[in-house]
């Protein structure tokens, strides 16, 4: 059982959760993630760690279906597993980026994945900026119009993008044209998060990789987005959305922070 310190709304449908988890707080590196279970009958929800506060970890999430709705109402957390996945290449292979300018380009709650990467890059004195394509969750984050992505990317040496598969695919396409290094942090369907099931598999350069143990960050030019997008439909059930509409009434935004 993990203690919830706070769990509150920050902007339409987006919540910030602070949980006491000392082992994870002291071991998780930028780019790694965790899996949460609210109670013993809950689903396992994969989440980035937005920030660390002493012994606590901070999650930023949008309510998009039954499980995130449950999280919103949680009184305590049953299970917290992590760190999962690997550290971001940008903070791991630091000498590669010493004199480079890095762009962290996100949509929706993708901000949660890049915040700690950006902080670490600042510590390493590697120049970096965060941009979001939609009305940002946090006021201090710059917003870029999707029509101006090309101009923005051209000002940087390397890009890390996090968001919906559709959005990341577009960023990769533009970065390719501009001949910039582009990396993506993927969020496919996941179950255990420790390599037991293969539900998180993605095709990287035609080869099966498990995002939870080989990723979540990959070379953007190698990702097969076509199949990745289609696999997301698998459990993104109408049921989840219907459920939310029922409990929330018509005010429900559908967790559309990505769109």
């Amino acid at each position: 059982m993990y203690k919830i310190i706070s769990n509150s709304l920050i902007t339409d449908n987006v919540y910030k959760l602070e949980v006491e988890a000392p082992l994870i707080a002291h071991s998780i590196k930028p780019g790694e993630f965790i899996i949460i279970m609210v109670d013993s009958m809950s689903e396992r929800i994969p989440m980035a760690v937005y920030d660390i506060n002493g012994d606590n970890i901070i999650i930023v999430y949008s309510v998009s279906g039954a499980s995130t709705y449950e999280l919103k109402n949680a009184k305590s957390i049953h299970s917290l597993l992590g760190p999962l996945g690997n550290e971001s290449k940008f903070t791991f292979d630091t000498e590669l980026y010493q004199d480079k300018k890095v762009l962290l380009l996100v949509s929706g709650t993708g901000i949660a994945q890049v915040n700690r990467i950006s902080k670490r890059l600042n510590e390493l004195e590697i120049e970096n900026d965060i941009y979001s394509v939609d009305k940002s969750i946090f006021n201090e984050i710059s917003v870029v119009n999707t029509n101006n992505l090309s101009d923005l990317i051209s000002k940087y040496d390397a890009v890390l993008t996090v968001g919906s598969f559709e959005f990341m695919e577009k960023v990769v396409e533009i970065s390719n044209i501009l001949n910039k290094e582009v990396r993506v942090s993927l969020s496919p369907l996941m179950l255990d998060g420790v390599g037991l099931c293969g539900s998180c598999r993605v095709l990287i350069d035609g080869e099966i990789k498990f995002a939870c143990i080989d990723g979540p960050e990959f070379d953007g030019t190698k990702v097969d987005f076509e199949t990745a997008k289609k696999r997301m439909e698998l459990f993104k059930t109408e049921e989840g959305r219907r459920y939310l509409r029922e409990v929330e009434g018509n005010t429900f935004t559908g967790g559309a922070t990505n769109e």
């Binding site: 082992l23 994870i24 299970s79 289609k230 439909e233």
Partner: protein, 452 residues
């Protein structure tokens, strides 16, 4: 003495009824049945059955105790070698071990040793605490709460060691908890066994991935010895086109959804996709477990296997029960392509037929493809149960252990680092519960000797 050539049958759930629920299929012996079966044992002077047992169960001794209705004694004899009898009695491949060697099997059927072991475990008030020695002040860390880790922990705790098990998942038991289904091994049986060993003072720390949440180096530093027993469970996918289609799963995924996450219960929030027609590819226990699981959700279920009935690696009883439950076996066939529609959904498979060839060096029949035998089957789900490999998150980030194709390299469970041991599936590759237990037990013995 009972000289019936046939063993005493065990009651089972009705086959029509059981495919609608996850209740345990084999119901276990009653006292009368157990004594009747125990009376078939010849109490051999040189018991062949013991030669077939990897952990050296004193089989005729405890069978004699059952015969005389001295269950407490039977349990004590069993406990000398096994701390998980309710589990072994249910899932050990006895037919390939003790029962295979039993002399009564030469003419007629072998003694139902597994069923008798289970009878003892299920019917006696159990406790292991009477075996516990005074604390000796030494600390041991174990990575993984599967059968290997639990066995090692139990043997060490009995000896007075202070034992901590680190477990990645939120439940103990490894494959026993997330893999082997309720209808063969109910979770409450696993939990009961674990409770018993916890009473010896063993601490299990969940949600903790060694190599991630805490480093292997730190536990090597903090403990007098470390036993790595983290299994080998990364599922393989066939190297054919279409694996990315929606509706293709590993058997592990289905089993985790249903067992670890309680997907068969209404109150569980983990979704299960129930297909109309499902093909499970493979022929081992994992294939049977996956097929029998999805069958219980009402799907038409096939098992597609490259060889024939005779070569199925699964336990005989499981195969029989799968057949009884209406699972259709498609032998000498393999998929070469998964067919999908424009929405990436599975709609079928292209398959080819094989024929049996010569017997290979490994004793198994070779197979060869029949040219132009391609044909299509319709289905909306494909589940791979074609083995798994080691992953070793615990050792992946530290370059201190020699890895052999993902497996940890250990010589008689000793790794290249002093006081660091490894065993079970993570050293051997996917094997059996009893082999994993044996490795745990041998390691405990070594640790006890080496730390004296």
């Amino acid at each position: 003495m009972n000289d019936d050539l046939k063993r005493t049958p065990m009651s089972m759930l009705d086959k029509e009824e059981r495919i609608h629920n996850f209740n345990e299929v084999e119901l276990g012996y009653t006292k009368e049945e157990a004594i009747k079966e125990a009376n078939r044992c010849l109490q051999c002077k040189i018991p062949m059955c013991m030669k077939g047992c990897p952990v050296g169960h004193k089989i005729p001794e405890w069978i004699k105790a059952i015969k005389e209705d001295r269950l407490e004694d039977a349990y004590k004899i069993i406990s000398e070698v096994s701390s998980l009898p309710a589990i072994c009695g249910r899932v050990c491949p006895q037919e390939q071990q003790c029962e295979k060697m039993c002399v009564r099997g030469l003419k007629g059927e072998a003694i139902a040793i597994g069923a008798l072991e289970r009878y003892v475990a299920d019917n006696v008030e159990r406790s292991l605490e009477y075996l516990k020695k005074e604390p000796n002040g030494k600390k041991i860390a174990i990575v993984g709460s599967g059968p290997s880790g639990i066995t090692c922990a139990t043997d060490l705790a009995r000896e007075g060691f202070d034992v901590t098990i680190y477990e990645a998942l939120h439940r103990p038991g490894g494959v026993l908890a997330w893999g082997i289904p309720e209808f063969r091994l109910p979770n409450k049986i696993v939990d009961k066994e674990i409770n018993l060993v916890e009473k010896l003072g063993i601490k299990i720390i969940y949600d903790t991935i060694v190599g991630k949440t805490i480093s292997l180096e730190s536990i090597i530093k903090d403990y007098d010895a470390v036993y790595i027993a983290n299994g080998a469970n990364k599922p393989k996918f066939m190297d054919i086109p279409g694996n990315e289609a929606n509706g293709v799963y590993s058997a592990n995924e289905l089993l985790i959804r249903v067992n670890l996450m309680d997907g068969m219960l209404d109150e569980s929030r983990t979704p299960i996709k129930v297909p109309k027609i499902c093909y499970v590819i493979g022929g081992g226990n994992v294939a049977m477990d996956a097929a029998r699981t999805i069958r219980r959700f009402g799907s038409e279920t096939h098992i597609m296997y490259r060889r024939t009935h005779e070569e199925l690696p699964a336990l005989g009883d499981e195969t029989i029960q799968a057949e009884e439950e209406g699972i259709i076996f498609d032998y000498l066939t393999t998929p070469i392509k998964i067919l999908k529609d424009e929405n990436n959904k599975v709609i079928g498979m292209e398959c080819i037929k094989y024929e049996l060839g010569e017997k290979g060096e490994d004793g198994r029949m070779s197979i060869k493809e029949i040219p132009n035998s391609n044909y299509n089957v319709n289905c909306d789900q494909v589940i791979y149960a074609i083995s798994s490999e080691a992953l070793n998150i615990a050792t992946r980030d530290s370059d201190i252990l020699h890895l052999k194709n993902g497996l940890i390299f250990a010589n008689e469970n000793e790794t290249s680092i002093e006081n660091v041991y490894a065993g079970g599936d993570t050293v051997t590759g996917p094997m059996t519960v009893i082999k994993a237990m044996e490795a745990g037990r041998k390691t405990a013995k070594k640790i006890i000797e080496n730390l004296k």
